[in-house]
Every structure is written in C-alpha cells, then in structure tokens.
C-alpha cells in the first residue's frame, strides 16, 4: 500500500486522522492524529497538535506532539510546542522550544 502523502502545495485546514503512515510535505492546520508513523518533511509547515507512533520532524511544527514510541527532530526541524514521548532524539541543528515529557 502506498503511503499517504500530503503534497507540498496542499493546504489542509482541519483534522487528519487514521491508521496508516503519513508524510506531510505541505501545510496542515488543526490536528493530526495517526496511529502509525508521522513524517513531517523539510518544507512542511504544521500548525497542529500531532499524535503518532513514531513522529519524525524535518520541517516546521507549531503545536504539541505526542509520540507513543519515539520523537525525532532532524537537523532542519523547527518545533515550538510541548513534546511527549518515551524516547526523544534531537539532532544537532534542530531548534526546539517547549516542554519535554518522557514520562520518567
């Protein structure tokens, strides 16, 4: 099955939910609630609360992120919001402002 892709020229204002991996290259405002992996690519702009299994961010995210397994902020990631995940990786170069909750 091909992955769900929100393309770079696509703007979604609302809620994206479901049970398969998604990749965001465009803009999403509102909410992303996925029970699989969520990838936010470089160039993407997400103003939303994000929920996923593994959440990988290379783009720009404003909102709270909950990853049930792992949150990864790649080099180009810019994130403002609270992060909750049992494992969090922040790469050199990533910028992040917000609270971290690893459920310690």
């Amino acid at each position: 099955m091909a992955n769900t892709v929100i393309g770079s020229s696509i703007v979604i204002d609302g809620e994206v939910s479901g049970d398969e991996p998604i990749t965001v290259l465009g803009q999403v405002k509102g909410k992303i609630a996925i029970s699989q992996n969520v990838t936010i690519e470089a160039g993407a702009h997400v103003e939303a609360d994000v929920e996923g299994q593994t959440v990988t961010i290379s783009g720009r995210v404003t909102g709270n992120v909950v990853a049930r397994e792992r949150l990864e902020l790649k080099t180009d990631a810019k994130m403002v919001g609270d992060a909750k995940a049992p494992r969090i990786v922040v790469a050199d170069g990533a910028s992040f402002k917000g609270n971290v909750d690893m459920d310690v």
């Binding site: 769900t4 393309g7 979604i12 049970d19 290259l25 465009g26």
Partner: protein
C-alpha cells in the same frame, strides 16, 4: 521538492475540514468538508468524499456526496456512486455508474428557452 508529485490520501485516512492545493490528488480514504484543487482529482473505488469539490478535472471511481465542480472535465467511471450536483463543461458517465442528482454542462440554450423549463 517537486510540486508535481502526486498527493495521496490513503485508504485508512480521514481528512475533516478544508483541503486545497495545486497538485494532483488521489483519494483512497475519506474526506469530509471542502476540497478546492487547481489540478486533477481522482477518487478511487475505496474513496469517499463528502464535500463540496472543485477541481480542473475529476475522475470518480468511488463515492461522492456533495457538489462536484470541474472546470474542464468530470468522469464518472463504471464503479462510481455520486449523489449531488455535478457541473463541468464536459461530463462523462460510464455504463454502470450510479448517479443521482443534478447535472449542469452550461449548455448554450436557444433563444427564448430557459434552463429548468418554463
């Protein structure tokens, strides 16, 4: 990033709200709300779109409930189920397609005759 890559809403994905864009969109899942595309929309047999839809071209193999407005062409393929209003200069309905609603092809009518009778 190339802007001509195809955008896909997978079978198990639901989008609620407004979706707009300039690239081709394939829907295998569900969209509720409004879709405004400057490109080609394809709704696959598993797709369900409950929305007001605008696109340049629309190929429907799944289900649409709402209004569908294509600036160029709308194709309702054999597996499609459409309820609502379809407007486009060119509309193709294949044998087997189920459609209930209104069609508007913007046909130029002869003088003295108005659409909708009377």
């Amino acid at each position: 990033m190339a802007s001509d890559e195809t955008c896909l809403i997978g079978e198990k994905i639901t989008v609620r709200g407004q979706l707009s864009g300039k690239q081709d969109l394939v829907v295998e899942g569900r969209i509720e709300g409004r879709v405004a595309l400057d490109s080609h929309l394809t709704v696959e047999p598993s797709g369900l779109v409950e929305a007001d839809v605008e696109a340049t071209k629309a190929t429907i193999r799944g289900e649409i409930r709402g209004t569908l407005q294509a600036t160029r062409q709308a194709i309702l393929e054999a597996s499609s189920r459409v309820t609502g209003k379809v407007s486009a200069p060119q509309i193709i309905i294949e044998e087997g397609a189920r459609f209930s609603g209104e069609i508007d092809m913007e046909v130029p009518l002869p003088d003295g005759i108005r659409a909708g009778g009377v």
